[in-house]
């Protein structure tokens, strides 16, 4: 594994950086599409109801626009995702306020506005379910027969019995709210009908083949009649995993009915009000602990608010439950997890995918246990931390690559945590108005799909020589800012011994690239990268074999190293030169590799036991904050992060992922606050839903640790979601340390912090009396 690499591990700049810095990169809304109309959406406006009638105001000249309702859907009225419960257009039931009821296309935005204003609805309102509490209580049945969309349990040992051996039992309930992605480029898709009756759908997306499946089902088209092509994507974070299937289908329906290209680009308001968010959660922990801090038993109950339809809830929930005990070993565990329906917009994929919620709960709970035991949170963590050979509650045991302790030790060294924890407490006594705090958290993230997911999708990647001097990487994995186009090209360049400039990532287009799976789950570098590497090896083997058949090299055996085919001392043929000589055998100049199951892992979906993930990445965070006790303002000042991610293919991009993901987690912890009223989001502008600016951002120190994973390309593991999983509890712990409070939920807004301090004051007064 310790092979020397040239491109992999280097600090080469990303391949798309300059074009982006110069403003020449074209995103969907920058493209001119000949004869294109614009599309818009008519929405329900009530949380639950039954549509009696959709009315068209005849004072508007309807020959100027095209209206699509559920009746116009040629295929099934569903947006196909993991479960077909989400109608493309409400008919007749309405299940959340921003649900699409009808679609309109018009030649220009002004006409579209007029047309949208000329549609009204007669809806019989039904009593909605707006909270998870009401959903579980079944005040109304709005989904299935119990409102529970999915339920899992994980059991190891005998938790009930083990509680008896504990010295004390610590309980806590932790809550997290919605989080909005705020990719800077809003959602946008366009559909372009072609003369041969096929349809091209382009746009900002993470999963071209997901959109493809949704179109096939919704339009009733055969697969080859639909082409999906990704356009440059200005951020996704999971928000463009599920939603482009909806928007793509909407644009397609309008394009088919109008017979013209139709583009739908949400403005920020529509994007904030209508697209998916991170699932809110309520997580209850009950833990049996020995006096010395040893965890002996745990009961955990996880509830996620799924919103009105499943989207990704089933798999989000799965990740929540599998990460419920975080980086700690607990011998007896019983976890129950449910995703329940409410009449609110469906919640969907968001970087971390259920882990930020469960990791927040376990990390906060560790802090609570430490507080009750009078231990430093660090010592409690050290005592129970997972090590090589420890088992997870679902039975997985890894003999190597359990790096929680490695990253914890590194972050302690970098941050001076122990010393500062003491020092800040001292300083705060001298300056009670501006207090400092420091907090710690750990996190882990299983890379790739859960269980047998990678075997199930069995993704493949291709490489091909094109134009005589380039190698193209053909995958459905998209570049959305995270650096896939650079990292996959680096893996190919390294494997082929070429320089990075000779390799390009082909635009993901379902009519050209194989299905390497969706761009999700921290799987692109680790799994797709591996198949790219395998495809490159296969390409070289094919070329070497065929070269021996060429007259000039008859019978020679070529080896390949550092970009050169060699047969003895004399015949040294560079890669592209050889490609030229083999040009008459075009089949030779491309190769495909499919995912090969990694031996030694097994997963039982029916019992939810086994090897949930083949490798985990690990992270430890220390955050320093200042809390202004006059205004209850929180200012993150320093963030120290150590992450173990296997081989860092591009250390620059890897640290960029960690910084960006951490900041997203910090925003989640104290700033980002989706308002809700009667089932609708109320935060409609970026001056209401606030994400961190430069001035809300700490200075970062990032440390990468590399424990190679034998199944990944050059030892790489998944990384993208890891920092989002784990930053929030460290920040909240730091706020608690500074202000002397214990927040149980996020975001820790000024109001919340103020209410905690008031409660403290009241309790102190009551204690004095």
């Amino acid at each position: 594994m310790d092979q020397k690499t040239v491109v992999v591990g280097s600090r080469l700049p990303r391949t798309d950086g300059l074009a982006k810095a110069c403003g020449t990169t074209q995103y969907l809304d920058d493209l001119t599409i000949e004869g294109c109309w614009v599309g818009g959406t008519v929405r329900a406006r009530v949380p639950r109801g039954r549509i009696r009638e959709i009315r068209q105001d005849l004072s508007f000249d309807w020959s100027r626009a095209v209206l699509v309702t559920a009746r116009d859907i040629p295929g099934l009225n569903v947006v196909s995702m993991i479960r077909d419960d989400y109608p493309a257009l409400a008919d007749p039931l309405v299940s959340f306020p921003t649900q699409a009821v009808a679609l309109i296309a018009a030649p220009d935005p002004e006409t579209l506005r007029e047309a949208l204003a000329a549609v009204s609805m007669d809806v019989e309102e039904l009593p909605p379910v707006l909270t998870v509490e009401d959903s579980i209580a079944c005040t109304q049945v709005i989904w299935g027969d119990s409102n529970v969309m999915d339920e899992y349990s994980v059991v190891s040992g005998n938790a009930e019995g083990a509680f008896a051996s504990a010295d004390l039992i610590v309980e806590g309930i932790y809550r997290t709210k919605h989080q909005e992605h705020v990719y800077l480029e809003p959602q946008g898709m366009a559909a372009i009908p072609r003369e041969d009756g096929s349809l091209e759908v382009i746009g900002s997306m993470q999963c071209p083949y997901y959109v493809h499946s949704a179109l096939v089902k919704g339009l009733g088209f055969s697969p080859e009649k639909v082409m999906v092509r990704q356009t440059e994507t200005g951020g996704g974070f999971g928000g463009k995993e599920d939603y482009p299937s909806i928007l793509g289908l909407h644009a397609a329906l309008l394009a088919l009915k109008s017979g013209r290209p139709v583009k739908m680009v949400y403005d920020r308001k529509e994007d904030l009000l209508c697209t998916t968010k991170r699932h809110p959660s309520v997580i209850r922990h009950r833990t049996g602990v020995k006096k010395d801090g040893t965890l002996v038993a745990a009961e955990i109950d996880i509830i996620l608010d799924g919103g009105a339809f499943t989207t990704m809830s089933k798999v989000v929930l799965s990740r929540s439950i599998l990460h419920a005990t975080g980086c700690y070993f607990i011998p007896h565990v019983s976890v129950r997890a449910r995703a329940v329906a409410t009449n609110t917009p469906p919640n969907g994929a968001f970087r971390g995918f259920g882990v930020p919620q469960s990791n927040f709960a376990i990390e906060r709970h560790m802090d609570r246990i430490a507080e009750i035991l009078g231990m430093d949170p660090l010592d409690l963590r050290k005592k129970n931390i997972l090590k090589n050979g420890s088992s997870f509650p679902y039975g997985q045991v890894l003999g190597e690559g359990m790096s929680a302790e490695l990253v914890l030790d590194r972050v302690l060294e970098m941050s001076g945590y122990r010393e500062k924890r003491r020092l800040f407490a001292e300083e705060n006594r001298k300056n009670p108005f501006l207090r400092k705090g420091i907090g710690l958290s750990l996190g882990l993230h299983g890379g790739g799909f859960t269980g047998s997911g990678e075997e199930y999708i069995s993704g493949s990647s291709s490489v091909r020589v094109s134009g005589g001097e380039r190698v193209e990487v053909l995958v459905s994995s998209v570049e959305m800012g995270q650096g896939a186009s650079t990292v996959l090209a680096m893996i190919a360049a390294e494997t082929l011994g070429l320089d990075l400039m000779s390799v390009v990532h082909h635009v993901p287009d379902t009519s050209v690239v194989p299905n390497s799976g969706p761009t999700v789950a921290s799987r692109t570098t680790m799994y797709v990268g591996k198949t790219v590497q395998d495809a490159c090896i296969s390409l070289v083997e094919q070329m070497a074999e065929k070269a021996a058949e060429l007259e000039e090299f008859a019978g020679k055996r070529f080896s390949y190293e550092k970009g050169v085919f060699a047969a003895g001392e004399k015949d040294r043929i560079p890669f592209f030169e050889m490609a030229k000589r083999l040009a008459s055998f075009p089949g030779i100049l491309s190769a495909t590799a499919r995912y090969r199951p990694i031996p030694g892992f097994s997963w039982d979906e029916s019992t939810y036991t086994g090897d949930a993930y083949k490798a985990y990445a690990w992270i430890a965070n220390v955050v320093e904050v200042e809390v202004d006790m006059d205004t209850f303002e929180i200012s993150p000042r320093k963030a120290y992060v150590s992450a173990e991610i296997g081989k860092a293919v591009s250390p620059v991009l890897a640290s960029g992922q960690i910084e960006g993901g951490s900041l997203q987690a910090f925003g989640y912890a104290y700033l980002e606050d989706v308002g809700m009223k009667n089932g609708s989001y109320t935060t409609a502008h970026l001056n209401q839903y606030l994400i961190p600016t430069t001035l809300d951002t700490p200075d970062f120190s990032v440390d990468l640790q590399e424990v190679p994973f034998s199944g990944g390309p050059y030892g790489a593991k998944g990384l993208g979601e890891l920092p989002m999983d784990s930053g929030a509890p460290a920040l909240v712990a730091a706020v608690g340390h500074a202000a002397g409070v214990f927040p149980e939920g996020i975001p820790v807004t000024g109001e919340y912090l103020h209410s905690l301090l008031r409660k403290n004051k009241k309790e102190r007064k009551a204690g004095e009396q």
Binding site: P13, R14, D16, G17, L18, A19, K20, A21, C22, G23, T24, Y27, D29, D30, V182, Y183, L184, E185, P186, T233, G234, G235, G236, D267, R268, M480, G481, Q482, D630, T631, F632, E633, S635, V652, L653, S655, G656, I658, E659, G660, L663, Q664, L671, H685, L686, N687, L690, I691, P692, T693, T694, L695, D696, T697, D699, F700, G750, E751, H754, R758
Partner: protein, 458 residues
């Protein structure tokens, strides 16, 4: 209308509608580096330089682009021939999805033009109006540091002056509805003629969000941006006069505002990020009569008067009497806001402005407090306190002021004043939180007036 301007070094005469956004003009020309991330000045993805100053192009009307110089990311360099700053962005890993980057690069250039060797705080402040969701900003800051280290800021030429000296050419139809006078005299004539049909344009930082959200109906437009006399900040006859079209940037950087009225300078500094501050005007902040407006709060404690001008003459309205209700002022339908007058303070006047937003930058006030007082031999005099964002418009706290005036300053007094200030205000929402913070800020001001040791001694 026809407008003459220079875009990325090329002289152009463009056909446009007067309220077309500069963003759309650029994009329709194929300059799609400027992006629409929000259309409301909240993200900075559309940022460009206008006459060398950072602006959000989603909030610039075509009629204000005439005679001016526009620079976009495409004007700095190309992928084949990038400029030093763009190269630093690519090399430092400051680019991820790239959507915010053209705007971010322009904000970086603007800050380096002002300060070629900034520290991290200056860089952060200069970029605070440009949201990035990918990078965590760390590498962006490093890219700016790298470009600064290579002398990028020193190589930026100063603004060369207007492109032309003639006014823009409106069509006959437009001339009936769009007015762009160059003097106050002309402006008040137009105002007198059309009264409440008039929508004023100046910095347009509220206008475009309102337009987008259907909060404004445009009939006649009176654009004050070419009235040079409205932009002046001058000291005369024991007063400092700040013109209605003075921008937040001008106010927060003006030496006399800084030395005489630091609370006002601070309010301007906290009012938004650079691209907004370069545009938002004092007059707009007052006339919009928003409960969350920042500038009226210090003006209330600094004894300012609002100067209103009409064809009937000029009148002065004390700041306290200027607001008439939610989103209402006492301005008559033939008046324009000429500016505010601030009496020069006594040398020993202490003043402060505090703002509690929901994040550190580019945020609406949730609570704002301005205080001023004179401390003579430990005794408080002329105490004035104002609070914003609590009610329909900013208000003074006369009971707390009265309680404090003439008293010896002490920790006990400061705590009591905090309690009284909390009780005196009546916030519409988040009551307990806002009351506590307001009280705390009054106490903070009082405690800042004397060294800690002295106060503890009392």
């Amino acid at each position: 209308m026809k407008i003459t301007c220079v875009i990325n070094g090329t002289f152009r005469v463009l056909d446009a509608r007067p309220l077309d956004r500069l963003l759309d003009i650029l994009r329709s020309m194929g300059l799609s580096g400027a992006k629409e991330g929000c259309g409301e000045g909240e993200c900075g993805a559309c940022a460009v330089l206008l006459d060398g100053e950072l602006v959000n192009s989603c909030m610039i009307p075509a009629m204000q682009v005439h005679g001016r110089t526009v620079l976009t990311a495409e004007g700095l360099g190309s992928p084949e021939n990038p400029d030093l700053l763009q190269r630093a962005y690519a090399e430092e890993g400051a680019v991820q999805c790239g959507f915010c980057i053209p705007g971010m690069v322009m904000a970086s250039r603007a800050l380096l033009a002002r300060d070629p060797h900034p520290d991290r705080t200056v860089i952060r402040t200069g970029l605070a109006g440009n949201l990035c969701r990918c990078t965590g900003y760390e590498k962006i800051i490093r890219a700016v540091e790298k470009a600064a280290g290579m002398g990028y800021g020193e190589g930026i030429p100063p603004f060369a002056g207007p492109v032309c000296d003639y006014p823009p050419e409106f069509s006959e139809e437009e001339r009936k509805s769009f007015f762009q006078p160059s003097s106050i005299a002309e402006a008040i004539e137009i105002r007198a003629e059309y009264g409440d049909e008039i929508t004023f344009l100046a910095g347009t930082t509220d206008f475009y969000p309102d337009l987008k959200n259907d909060k404004v109906e445009v009939k006649k437009v009176l654009d004050l941006s070419r009235v040079e006399e409205l932009r002046a900040i001058t000291r005369k006859d024991g007063e400092l006069f700040v013109g209605a079209c003075a921008s937040d940037s001008m106010i927060m950087e003006h030496p006399e505002v800084l030395s005489l009225f630091p609370a006002l300078a601070r309010a301007a500094e906290l009012s938004g990020a650079r691209a907004v501050q370069n545009r938002a005007t004092l007059g707009g902040n007052l006339a919009s009569a928003s409960g969350a407006a920042d500038l009226p709060v210090p003006l209330l404690v600094l004894g300012a008067s609002v100067i209103l001008r009409s064809v009937r003459g000029e009148r002065r309205v004390p700041m306290e009497e200027f607001f008439a209700g939610y989103r209402k002022t006492v301005m008559k339908q033939d008046e324009i806001l000429r500016g505010v007058s601030l009496p020069l303070p006594r040398g020993s006047l202490r003043q402060a402005f505090f703002k509690r937003g929901s994040r550190a930058a580019l945020t609406l006030s949730r609570i704002s407090v301005a205080c001023s007082a004179v401390l003579e031999e430990g005794t408080l005099k002329d105490v004035r306190i104002a609070a914003g964002s609590m009610s329909a418009f900013p208000v003074r706290l006369p009971e707390t002021e009265g309680y404090l005036s003439g008293k010896k300053l002490s920790c006990v007094l400061a705590n009591e004043a905090a309690d009284r200030a909390s009780r005196e205000i009546n916030p519409r929402t988040s009551g307990e939180f806002r009351k506590t913070v307001t009280g705390n800020l009054v106490r903070k001001f009082l405690l800042s007036l004397s060294p800690k040791e002295e106060l503890n001694g009392r």
